[in-house]
């Protein structure tokens, strides 16, 4: 059979090649799909064309992720081999695919094996693309030699003699300064500057990119190129790197340290020194001397100093500040060593292109990566950047359709007149909304959707090209209003069709408020970069721009306040002033008195020099101090430096914060148990508890459960259960408990927001929070049951007050049943982790290896974090953060006892004396509802606890349902004696459980009447808690500083977990297998797209009534 899907890949006819995979797969049977998979698998091995291979891989991924599992006849339950999983972790993707295909051939198609194959194919596809980009970057002419050079004696670069000529006045060396604008993407042409896209579809890779100067509105008196970089010769054989904005400086004397990117905050500068050719990538790991290398380039005994400054422009501006900083510094290094011809003024076109190629290389070295338009600030003014078809002679020819490097066409005054440029500046308001964003997953999604040619997304992409043409025509006509209309249509249309997650409630609220305030004078919105919420643009009638700037600051600040517990924010919102920069990157050679570094540099460098005996300082340092002192007296821009230095030299005494929000006050308020904390610390230090000690003894027998241990509820349940459930509902015998006390660490990488309040997805045309979704399901059940369903939301120190305020503001989402918050009564104080636990987590536990360079950066970061733990004191209190980030919830086991202790259950029982059952579920198990048939099943099974489990997919890590020494129970991943044993378990814990209230009280040795006796309840809880295991876990916590900077630290905390209740024989636990759509949890935002596409979101919506 000729494969239809292979034809889709190979056909020369665009009408066939651009057909959607989904359309073909939808109608195919299992047998047909498997046959197509076999053809695709054979095709990808035999094809020599990169993009054919990658497209085949993504087709295979999509079939296994979205199509095959839905077909009748595909098994739901099979075990995934641990060896295949290990191959995946080690990035041996081909071996993983082979292992999983063998399992599929032996056992037939199944949901778990398809999940594993989907992951393996997806990662292999992305790895193949990334490898090609890396190869292309290395093969760019002008870059190749840097990979060949492996010894300082072979270094072919020499510093320009002008930089060695000391000043006659004071003997200091001249300073080469580069000033570089940042870039603004005016059109947002569907992320088409992603390398993979441009290399396959150069015709569709187009961006209108503008170089701009910036100032923070209200702070800076004028706009200027935000990026400034400096280079000068030193009389010491060191590489001195200083980032003024990050307040970091280092003297590097060891070659290996140049390649240690995460050791300090100077990774970007190091990447620039490497990509700039001064320390070429070829010398990495050579064991040679940095001094020898510098001697060769700069002269014996000499070194180089590089300084960067971005003038306080916040991180995450979506204006590619960091890429332009990298490009600026690369340009500086190239000029200084004769790789660019001029020490003054702008670069030539071929030099700019090389800077772009080197910036791509630098980003790869630093383990990051943006698109090819990001170095746009190097070019002047407005330009159209487009993909280019690879031609003979290009390294990409025969490998990919397009070149790695795009071409830049600088718009002339005919394309965009001076009047239009002025109009643009008078109309656009650039802002940073303050949101912290991770655009990495978005860029992967874009590549995937492009390569799959999904119907709606492909149409959207084509329509974006038409919008770009419309914008270009608008520019020609000097019609800014048309531009605004087009960018707005782009944002609400194609952009969100391709990536629904590009928008969020914060952004849309701001747009609506501005629209309301300004009416017709608000001409449009456009999104900068990967997603909205950070860098954004608002277009106003020129007469209203000033008012727009003022109002936007107010609106953003107010909206941020409303959402600050729902969405992750890195900083306060900012409004910018901007101007089009018509020069591009620009260099000057500064001599004598004018050869000054930025003021922030001196604030950083001078205090330690001032503390030394002036006579002991080298002459060059003394000359530098004299020059700086003279400049402070005469230059207005250095006004205030004396005070700055004074404050640095004599810092203000720190006083303990005694406000309500101080850490001691919070600990007091939330019932911190100091004695227990000290015990945990002592146990942690002595090694009695720790990550390794979480595990059950190695002699524990872990086996998969048998058929009789579970009840299969994946198919429609018999009517009797429905009837029993309906009766219980009508009698008011059930309530829902939603666990919403946690910080959702994985959801926002430790940003400390409240996951329950995160407006994570659009349902019914609006963004909905997790909480609203859960209440919408309860509303529907209330209607079906005829009795309003009581809904309890458990909260903690971090989530209680925000949830209470949020619900009040949202008028409790109109929920008519009893809606109660159960406030947490226990809080922990995070601890600095033990080195032992960090090493256990990073070295002993199976780890997902990253791509080569990213792995290097991660290893370097981990080394630095171990150093931090040792220096800060292992098992010490973690207090170096805002107070709320120092506390931690102590695990969801405590949340049910809290219902008893805080009186919530007693009050509920007063209202609903018939209450007999609780359905407890996690905030992220969005498919769970009080399904009457499930309720009836729970009642009929008669256990104290009915735990819902789902069949395991490869992403379901963290324990599961097992027979432990012959007894069925839920085992947490932390407690697994051996990693591989988890792969012998068929079922994964959904964390949804049905609780028989009276049986639970009995386990606590309480009765309903005892709930009024607080003392007795407290004793009962304490007694049962003592029987529950305590786990030590490592959690990521963000620390914010500077202008939108974030560091993530691993901290230690302890937890007790609800699933361990299944250990207690007196709970008489039952286990029910439920459909995946009911039981899957949303732990990571990168799951959302697949969840939306595989029909899970639609299923959830069908359970809701808004």
């Amino acid at each position: 059979m000729a494969s239809k899907l292979v034809q889709l890949i190979t056909s020369p006819d665009p009408a066939v090649r651009n057909q959607s995979l989904d359309a073909v797969c939808r109608a195919a049977s299992v047998t047909e799909l498997l046959a197509e998979c076999a053809e695709l698998e054979a095709f990808r091995h035999r094809s020599e064309n990169l993009y054919e291979r990658v497209r085949a891989l993504l087709f295979l991924y999509a079939i296994h992720r979205f199509h095959l599992p839905l077909k009748p006849g595909v098994h739901a339950r099979t075990l995934i081999s641990f060896s295949g999983y290990t191959h995946l972790l080690q990035r041996r993707f081909e071996e993983a695919v082979a292992t999983f295909l063998k399992a599929q051939a032996a056992d037939g198609p199944s949901d778990p094996i398809s999940s594993a194959l989907a992951v393996a194919y997806y990662r292999l596809a992305l790895q193949t693309l990334a490898d090609q980009v890396r190869r292309s970057v290395r093969s760019v002419r002008g870059n190749q030699w840097m990979f060949r050079m492996g010894h300082p004696a072979d270094h072919p670069l020499r510093i320009r003699p002008e930089l060695l000529k000391r000043s006659d006045e004071d003997g200091t060396y001249p300073i080469l300064r580069e000033r570089t604008p940042v870039r603004m993407d005016l059109t947002h042409c569907g992320w088409s500057d992603i390398f993979f896209l441009g290399m396959d579809y150069p015709e569709g890779a187009k961006v209108l990119n503008i170089s701009i100067d910036l100032g923070v509105h209200g702070r800076d008196s004028a706009t200027r190129p935000p990026v400034e970089t400096y280079l000068r010769v030193l009389d010491e054989p060191v590489l001195r790197l200083t980032s003024v904005d990050l307040g970091a400086t280092a003297d590097i004397t060891n070659l290996a340290d140049v390649f240690d990117f995460a050791k300090d905050y100077l990774g970007l500068l190091k990447a620039a020194v490497i990509a700039g050719g001064i320390v070429p990538p070829g010398v990495e790991g050579s064991g040679q001397s940095l001094a020898d290398l510098l001697a060769r380039v700069v002269g014996p005994g000499r070194g180089l100093e590089l300084v960067s400054s971005v003038n306080g422009i916040p991180k995450g501006s979506r204006l590619a500040v960091s890429t332009n900083l990298l490009a600026s510094m690369i340009s500086l290094c190239m000029r200084a060593t004769g790789q660019a011809s001029s020490l003054h003024g702008s670069l030539q076109e071929d030099e700019r292109r090389l800077v772009l190629a080197r910036a791509i290389l630098g980003e790869w070295l630093g383990g990051s990566g943006g698109g090819w338009q990001d170095s746009g600030g190097v070019w002047p003014g407005m330009k159209l950047i487009e993909g280019v078809l690879a031609a003979e002679g290009d390294p990409e020819f025969g490998v990919s359709r397009g070149r790695l490097m795009p071409q830049h066409r600088i718009l002339t005054h005919e394309d965009a007149s001076p009047a239009l440029r002025q109009k643009l500046q008078d109309s656009l308001v650039l802002v940073h909304g303050g949101m912290a964003q991770n655009v990495g997953p978005i860029l992967e999604m874009v590549s995937e959707k492009y390569l799959l040619r999904s119907e709606a997304e492909w149409k959207a992409r084509l329509s974006m090209l038409a919008i770009l043409d419309e914008i270009l025509a608008g520019l020609k006509r000097e019609d800014v209003a048309a531009l605004g209309a087009a960018t707005t249509r782009n944002f609400f249309g194609p952009i969100q069709t391709i990536i629904p997650w590009a928008t969020n409630l914060f952004t849309e609220t701001i747009i609506n408020r501005v629209k309301t305030d300004f009416g017709k004078d608000f001409l449009g919105f456009w999104m900068l970069g990967g997603m909205s919420g950070g860098g954004m643009g608002f277009i106003f009638d020129p007469a209203k721009k000033a008012a727009g700037q003022t109002r936007l600051q107010e609106v953003m600040t107010q909206t941020k306040r409303e959402f600050e517990y729902s969405l992750p924010f890195a900083m306060e919102p900012v409004v910018y002033d901007f101007a089009i920069n018509e020069k591009g990157t620009w260099a000057d050679l500064l001599h004598g008195k004018s050869a000054l570094l930025p003021p922030g540099y001196y604030a950083l460098i001078m205090p330690p020099l001032l503390r030394q005996d002036a006579r002991a300082l080298p002459p060059l340092h003394r000359a530098e101090m004299d020059k700086f002192a003279a400049a402070c007296r005469s230059k207005p821009e250095l006004r205030g430096m004396v005070q700055t230095l004074f404050d640095r030299l004599l810092p203000r005494l720190k006083t303990d914060d005694t406000s309500d929000e101080s850490l001691p006050a919070l600990l007091e308020r939330y019932g911190f148990d100091r004695a227990q904390h000290e015990q945990v610390r002592a146990d942690l230090k002595s090694g009695r508890i720790g990550l390794a000690q979480n595990r059950l003894s190695v002699s524990t027998q872990i086996q998969d459960v048998t058929e009789g241990d579970v009840f299969d509820a994946t198919h429609e349940l018999p009517k009797k259960y429905l009837e029993a459930g309906m009766a219980a509902l009508a009698a008011g015998e059930v309530a829902v408990v939603t666990l919403a006390a946690g910080a959702g660490s994985r959801w926002t990488q430790g940003a400390g927001t409240v996951k329950a309040l995160h407006p994570f997805c659009k349902f019914g045309g609006r963004h909905r929070t997790f909480l609203e979704v859960h209440l919408a399901k309860s509303r529907r059940i209330s209607r079906i049951g005829g009795v309003p369903l009581p809904h309890v939301i458990t909260t903690s120190y971090i989530s209680h007050q925000p949830t209470e305020a949020f619900l009040a503001r949202e008028k409790f989402y109109g929920y008519s049943g009893p809606l109660v918050l159960s406030e947490g009564r226990t809080v922990g104080l995070r601890l600095i982790p033990m080195e032992r636990d960090l090493r256990f987590s990073w070295e002993e536990m199976p780890q997902q290896m990253l791509d080569e360079q990213q792995q290097k950066v991660r290893d370097s970061l981990r080394h630095a974090l171990i150093g931090w733990a040792q220096q800060a004191g292992e098992a010490g209190d973690y207090t170096d953060n805002v107070p709320l980030q120092c506390l931690h919830p102590v695990g969801h086991w405590f949340e049910i006892p809290n219902l008893l202790r805080n009186g919530t259950l007693a009050r509920l029982l007063e209202q609903r004396p018939n209450l007999k059952h609780l359905m407890l579920h996690n905030i992220d198990t969005v498919g769970a509802d009080v399904d009457p048939a499930m309720l009836g099943l729970h009642i009929t099974l008669g256990g104290g606890l009915s735990f819902e489990v789902i069949t395991r997919r490869i992403e379901d890590r963290g324990g599961g349902l097992a027979r432990v020494n012959g007894q069925p129970r839920i085992v947490e991943g932390l407690a697994m004696p051996r990693e591989e044993e988890e792969f012998a378990l068929s079922y994964y814990n959904s964390m949804t459980s049905w609780i028989n209230l009276d049986r639970l009280l009995a386990v606590f040795q309480l009765t309903r009447a005892d709930l009024a006796d607080a003392g007795k309840v407290a004793d009962a809880v304490r007694a049962l808690a003592a029987r529950m295991p305590t786990y030590i876990t490592l959690k990521d916590v963000k620390k914010r500083w500077g202008h939108g900077q974030e560091d993530v630290y691993p901290v230690a905390q302890f937890e007790k977990l609800w699933s361990d209740m299944t250990v207690l024989p007196e709970m008489n636990s039952r286990f029910i297998v439920v459909p995946r759509r009911r039981g899957q949890q949303l732990k990571d935002q990168s799951q959302l797209d697949g969840w939306l596409r595989d029909g899970s979101a639609a299923h959830v919506e069908s359970l809701c009534e808004w």
Partner: protein
Amino acid sequence: MAGIGFLCFATVKIRKAVITAAGRDQRRLPLQSLVDRDGQSKSALTILLEEVLHAGIEEIGLVIAPGDQAAFAAAAGPHVNRIQFIEQSKPLGYGHAVLCAHPFTGSEPFLLLVGDHLYVANGQKSCARQLIDIASAEACAVSAVQPTHESLLPHYGAVGARRLVGQAGLYQVDRVLEKPTPTVAEQKLIVPGLRAGHYLCFFGMHALTPGVMDILKDMVGQGGGAHLSDALAKTAGSERYLACELQGRRYDIGVKYGLLTAQLALALNGQDRDEVLTQLVELLAQTSRGVA
């Protein structure tokens, strides 16, 4: 201009050579003594003079710094009468030094050599002779080149060129850059057939047309320094200009151990080869024992 260049070689043989020795760092180098292939002790200048005289050159213009004539005359030994001393009054760069010889070369083509290099041919035919023969046969300007590793680019001018079909070692020059970085060289000076990281760098010996002098004159007239490489780059754009690989090696006596290497090369190619080899082996053996 192309016509003039063509005519020059087509009708006139190369009779004159220009040797530059006025550079600040190279003024003493031609005065160093070495033992030539014939076992005679001579100055480097004499060896160089004999190289060109044996190639059929009749007159030699030696460009020197003011005040150096006596020393160079002494070093020239028996060939002093063949030399016309030309003073470069100010150190205005290599191109200017060459231009100083313009009155000497007049409207004739000429051989240009740098005074701090020595040449050792692989066969009987000297390097200078090989170059003159090629220039005469091709009737155009020709620069001798040598494939050179990119780490040495800071020392040389380099050419971007295409191989001439059917003529081994001959190239049509498209571009000339003075001391390029490998970054630039990779983009502009790639020559098919050379090993990775190797470029055609100047050998220090050129057979040039009088048109080069005209270009240098224009460049100096416009102010600023004049680089020979820039003039040659212009030559490539205005007349046929070739590069050729010679059967021989150049030795830069101005670099570290350059004089020693040149001496060894001369000795190992000369009549005392066996004796020098024996001494080298003994030296190696003794050094090895010393190390042991």
